[in-house]
Symmetry: C2
Subunit: 524 residues, 2 copies
């Protein structure tokens, strides 16, 4: 299908005089067509439509919402290679990676469809009446969770499919019963339009109210700010920079009615190399580490930006292996010119830092927006004095913190900010030390990994992709996995309702879903 | 036991030069002894102790935390009549009410003990490894919820037991594994000290780290502000005024690390009298309503401060009945002189409002700090023009909104702010109208009640005592019932952990708790 450059507001294509362009980061060339930039009028339209749709959509039979999500997945697949090629042109990401990301995006929609049918998300609780209880009878009390209202989702630059128009937050919000307005990322508006057309086709095929979904493209901060400030918007999902996330949190907290912002902001994902693991496989760890570090030009929220280990010959072997691997790594096209220049600046600051040593750089090949990998080291004592070196440099840059002993390593960990992940490389002999470190790692991170690498986030039930501030705005939540639906729900209690007035899910003849009766889980 | 006036910081009694007094609101007399006022030094001590205790307390076997909560309940009961008499002297609340409140407080602790043993609160999820999956194997992923860290709980004036030192938030936080620092309400410091001594005795009897619990008394705003700002504090529970709650939310959001504030702030708890219910039992509804309105001098967060109905003879009968009942109601001692004067001022503002009619006042008897009930009415059209009349007047004041028809009634409901509760009085013939109103009521309130009155909050599994802003700071949560434990927890995912390194609850030989395996609930 042809990319028109139009906005998609509740199923209607809207063209604006004000436009902006996408660029191919591999060439620096502008890509056609020009894209309409949404303004306050479109914000108002999309929010009003979403508000009107909310009242219908939120009470749909979960089966219908499940079919809608599956139809959206089918429609995304039906876009075929055009979607992958456009995403490749707009992001510089390889087609193979984008093929995998598309599969993940569709699996994510299907997993939420399954969760909708299963019903665990409803959080049903029933405390039946106790009319004869003394001194007072107990009322019949029933709880379910209901959606918050329209949700604004900000597309992320680094996952043009899986964290963008039909990505994790969109899937979770639509599953919860919340209409979604996507503020498309300005780097991949064509990809956004294609996916939005697929979601819109699903809305129409399922006869849903048009306002269930809108895409507003634009490249101004004012657009995002207006969406977050709109009275009909009840929650926000965001993945991006810390400055961007903090700005949205501030807007949301200063509204007449504050709303939750689920912002995923920055993380350096500490990796701890434990002594026996280093002793027994320093070389392999060095190679594997560089694989994780340079994957996708390092443009993952879970990129391993910090490595901690105790000094010694084994660590030297790791450094030698990692340095060799990195020196052989080909620079990759980064997502945008802005991201590339921020990366180059971040690397340069570390290079020039008096306490930081450059261990290795990736190959230096010609071409614009190429991110050369970078590995640095610092003595733990210096790192504790200059905590700013342990901040995210978005891209394939990592800092090795050389510790004098276990205690110093633990001290550095204790000084870290909140993280999405923490990783332990260990053998059986390292378990005792890992046990000592785990309480700190748990406190700092949403996911702790053993003998793997942090890049790669499984979409499943037990996943937590979240973590204490500032890795996210709200460490009580996850943006990946079925638990993500809870961020868009709140509980309501129904007291002494006649059966006919109860929500369908709480009526006597409701389909049997997992529920707690007098506190006890009951599954039929 | 003698009330010493001292602070209780991690089991140590601390006396300060700066003191303040409690007053008997029935007499205006100061009560002995003088109470030490905590300052920055004590904030630092309590927070440091709480932080140190957190690391041990959070990983205790849940059975030990359950025993601790039960021991605290036993110790509170062991305080005997002294507790009730002191609470009566400090709050003016009748002994019968305080006896019931004590039972509720202890039941609450015991209910959380039961939840700890049952394990539903842990949110366990296990997605076993799929080593043969194509194109990529799946890791073993396991989730549990862990506590946030030390919690500050502000004692509430209107529940010196159930929402104070060992009240709902304290019970939920201690159950979750969070040490608690209580900022005692300055109106009942003696009650606070007694309950704190009971909790401290339980800490000692159970050999817990001393910092698990502290009580800081004081009558300055700076004390509360310093606690909320402290780096070791990770969440806040508050029940009180909107101004107070908003001030704490601001402090919490401006910290280097923002933290959640669960503030319960204000609610007028709309009650809708449906036509057939009015027709068939207007007189009874009038009497019941006044019973709920004047209970406890109206000093409940769930007090029915707003009544909506369609004009007509049946509504006139309700008004006549309610007016008669209210005129016969004896004024009751309010909690503090400040609360009494704010109530008197709020009532006076309504009395003088050009669009508001006084329907009835309670009896006018001599005595200080007595709250005379007040019932007002306003035409719906006027209410929509002057929305400020639909604001909380804390005490036994309520406003009847006379609506021309169903549509106008629905419009008024749609204009309301977020509420803790909404109530429908109905018969079978009113169900269709109730069905039309329910979507709005659900959207506005945390609990919807049929044919009851909002005062009276059951402590159970299905209860929601919470609601959209500004009734609370965060409508995704409840402060009463077992679901309240979730406000102090966050999920963590463990990827490919060897069994020995896993938290006990996720190990292969863990006690069988409710859990989702591959998304499916499993209960042994």
């Amino acid at each position: 299908m042809a990319i028109s450059g139009e906005l998609l507001i509740g199923g209607t294509r809207v063209r604006k005089a004000e436009t902006f362009s996408a660029f191919n980061p591999a060439t620096g060339q502008a890509l056609s067509p020009a894209f309409s930039a949404a303004g306050q009028t479109e914000v108002e339209q999309a929010c009003e439509l979403a508000w009107a749709a909310f009242h219908v959509y939120r009470e749909l039979d979960p089966e219908l919402r499940a079919k809608f999500l599956e139809t959206a997945a089918d429609q995304i697949m039906a876009l075929g290679d055009e979607l992958l090629e456009r995403a490749h042109a707009e992001s510089g990401l390889p087609l193979a990676r984008l093929t995998g990301e598309r599969a993940r995006t569709c699996n994510q929609l299907r997993l939420f469809a399954a969760e909708l049918r299963y019903g665990g998300w409803m959080g049903l609780r029933i405390d039946p009446a106790l009319p004869d209880r003394k001194p007072l009878p107990r009322s019949d009390l029933r709880m379910r969770k209901i959606p918050l209202g329209p949700v604004v989702v900000f597309g992320a630059s680094n996952f043009p499919l899986a964290f963008s128009v039909a990505g994790g937050d969109t899937a979770a919000a639509l599953a919860a019963g919340c209409p979604v307005i996507v503020k498309g990322h300005s780097a991949h508006p064509g990809t956004s339009e294609l996916v939005a057309s697929a979601v819109t086709a699903a809305v129409q095929a399922c006869n849903l109210p048009a306002g269930v979904f809108s895409l507003l493209n634009g490249n101004s901060r004012a657009l995002g700010a207006a969406l977050v400030a709109h009275r009909h918007v009840k929650a926000v999902g965001f993945t991006g920079s810390r400055a961007g996330g903090l700005a949205l949190m501030k807007i949301a907290s200063e509204r007449p009615e504050p709303i939750p912002v689920y912002a995923e902001m920055s993380s350096i994902n500490p990796v701890v190399l434990l002594p026996d693991a280093l002793d027994t496989r320093a070389e392999a760890l060095g190679t594997e580490f560089v694989g994780s570090l340079t994957m996708g030009a390092g443009q993952f929220c879970t990129n391993p930006g910090l490595v901690l280990a105790v000094e010694g010959p084994a660590l030297d072997r790791f450094v030698a292996s990692a340095s060799t691997a990195l020196q052989g790594s080909v620079p990759q096209v980064m997502l945008t010119a802005g991201i590339h220049s921020a990366y180059a600046k971040g690397v340069e600051q570390l290079e020039q830092h008096a306490s930081v040593t450059v261990l290795a750089r990736g190959e230096d090949k010609p071409g614009i927006n190429r991110g050369r990998g970078a590995l640095f080291s610092i003595a733990a004592e210096e790192a504790l004095k200059h905590e700013d070196v342990m901040a995210e440099v978005f891209g394939a840059s990592s800092l090795l913190v050389r510790c004098a002993d276990d205690a110093q390593l633990a001290r550095v960990l204790d000084h870290l900010e909140g993280q999405l992940t923490a990783t332990l490389l260990l053998t059986d002999k390292d378990i005792a030390m890992a046990q000592r470190l785990l309480p700190t790692l748990e406190r700092k991170a949403g996911r702790v990994i053993v003998n793997g690498w942090p890049t790669g986030v499984e979409v499943c039930h037990a996943m937590v992709h979240g973590g204490p501030y500032p890795s996210t705005a709200d460490g009580r939540s996850t943006s990946v996995g079925t638990l993500a639906i809870e961020r868009f729900l709140r509980p309501v209690c129904y007291q002494d309702f006649p059966d006919a007035l109860l929500p369908a899910a709480l009526q006597a003849n409701a389909p049997k879903r997992p529920r707690r009766i007098d506190g006890v889980y009951t599954i039929d």
